[in-house]
């Protein structure tokens, strides 16, 4: 799987060079743009810090008290069917509901198990490849004034479920099942 590593490693440098060169080519003040954008990044981080504190505290106490162990234990029969480690199940359940809460769970899982562990890789893949489904649904349909969303929820949740299961399988296939 060396070529997969290669593509992963080249994705960012290629994008950096392509975006900056194109900017220079069409005579955009690339550095000024960069600074403006970086400021937006700062604003985003400031905005998510208070919810992140609240959610990480909730996850922290939930883990330390032993409640998380109870929950993952209860979910084990379900997860065994599709070979999902029960440790990542709380993330799978939270992902469609809240982006910041998922981010907090990802932070917690990667800290606990390490970024290069099987669970760390699954967590990363799951987080990167799914969206906050219910939030998107509420915002977009709310803005258009739609009351009956027909099959959207079912199709979107099936896509999420696919993302959750496939992220485990792909990680197992590429990095090994441990």
């Amino acid at each position: 799987m060396a070529w997969i590593q290669l593509i992963s490693n080249l994705a960012i440098p290629v994008m950096f060079v392509a975006i900056i060169s194109y900017g220079i080519a069409v005579e955009v003040k690339v550095y000024d743009c960069f600074v403006e954008g970086a400021k937006e990044g700062l604003e985003v981080m400031i905005r998510i810090l208070p919810p992140l504190v609240g959610l990480l505290v909730a996850i922290g106490v939930f883990r330390a008290s032993g409640a998380l162990e109870l929950l993952t234990f209860a979910l084990t029969p379900l997860t065994r069917i599709v070979r999902i480690p029960s440790e990542v199940m709380p993330l799978a359940l939270m992902r469609p509901i809240s982006g910041t809460a998922s981010l907090a769970l990802v932070t917690d899982l990667i800290k606990q198990y390490g970024p290069d562990s099987f669970i760390g890789r699954i967590t990363s893949t799951m987080m990167g490849s799914t969206e906050t489904t219910f939030y998107t649904l509420a915002v977009y349909f709310g803005a258009a004034g739609i009351k009956n969303v027909r099959h959207t929820i079912l199709a979107a949740l099936l896509a999420d479920l696919t993302g959750i299961i496939v992220s485990v399988w792909i990680c197992g296939f590429i990095f090994g099942w441990n």
Binding site: Q5, S8, N9, A11, I12, M15, G23, V30, F34, V35, E36, G37, E40, L42, M45, L49, L56, V57, A58, I59, G60, V61, A64, S65, G66, A67, P96, I97, S98, A101, T107, K111, P115, D116, G120, R121, S124, G128, S129, T132, T133, V139, Y140, A143, A144, G145, I146, N148, V149, R150, H151, T152, A155, A156, L158, A159, T162, V166, S167, C171
Partner: protein, 209 residues
């Protein structure tokens, strides 16, 4: 919803802690987690700024418009009911590209514009058209070229290779989008399927756009 989940987690945690005798550890975890949140934010801050900075160049230089042209044949197939050069199609394509590039700040307004344009084409104003369902499903499945936040967390936790998950993210996203789009296409054909709840009789076979 998050209000209940958050409150539930904290209350359940302390009740469980009472029974497992871990009250002290649990209290300590609360304080530690609060400072972890701040440390983590600081660790992420640099990479997030770097990324949003680069992406601003992408936005300002009009590169996303160029990419939008490239993927247009694909969107024509996804949204056969939407006229090719309509403002609706323009907003849809731009939103999809912005999402791919991880430009969340640009993607949301474009997405809202797309929904409003689709609503103008929609025959039944309180019921989603097939194009709207497809658009939201594609949006919720999220194809991100560079999962910047995850990479930032991985490198903050000193991963040997923070980028190694890029390809696994692409493959997983493709699988999720494929399932979402296929399901939306199949269920979109069956008008009764999603319309049982509201105004079932009024929605005719011509529901689409």
């Amino acid at each position: 919803m998050l209000n209940y989940i958050w409150a539930g987690m904290i209350v359940i945690a302390f009740v469980v802690a009472f029974f497992t005798g871990r009250i002290e550890e649990t209290t300590k975890a609360a304080l530690d987690s609060a400072s972890t949140a701040v440390q983590m934010s600081i660790a992420l801050l640099g990479i997030m700024c770097l990324w949003t900075g680069i992406m601003k160049i992408c936005e300002k230089s009009g590169l996303i418009k160029v990419i939008a042209k490239v993927i247009k044949p694909l969107t024509k197939r996804l949204f056969p009911q939407v006229p090719h050069n309509s403002p609706a199609m323009g907003a849809i394509v731009m939103n999809m590209v912005a999402n791919m590039m991880g430009l969340a700040n640009a993607a949301t307004p474009l997405g809202l514009k797309a929904m409003n344009e689709l609503q103008k084409l929609n025959r039944y104003k309180d019921t989603a058209s097939n194009a709207m369902c497809m658009f939201v499903v594609v949006n919720t499945a999220s194809i991100q070229l560079i999962p910047a936040t995850v990479i930032a967390i991985r490198s903050a936790e000193s991963s040997n290779n923070p980028f190694e998950i890029i390809v696994t993210v692409w493959l997983t996203s493709l699988a999720a989008v494929f399932v979402g789009v296929t399901m939306a296409k199949i269920m979109g054909r069956n008008i009764k399927f999603g319309v049982w709840s509201v105004r079932r009789k009024k929605v005719s076979r011509k529901l689409d756009v």
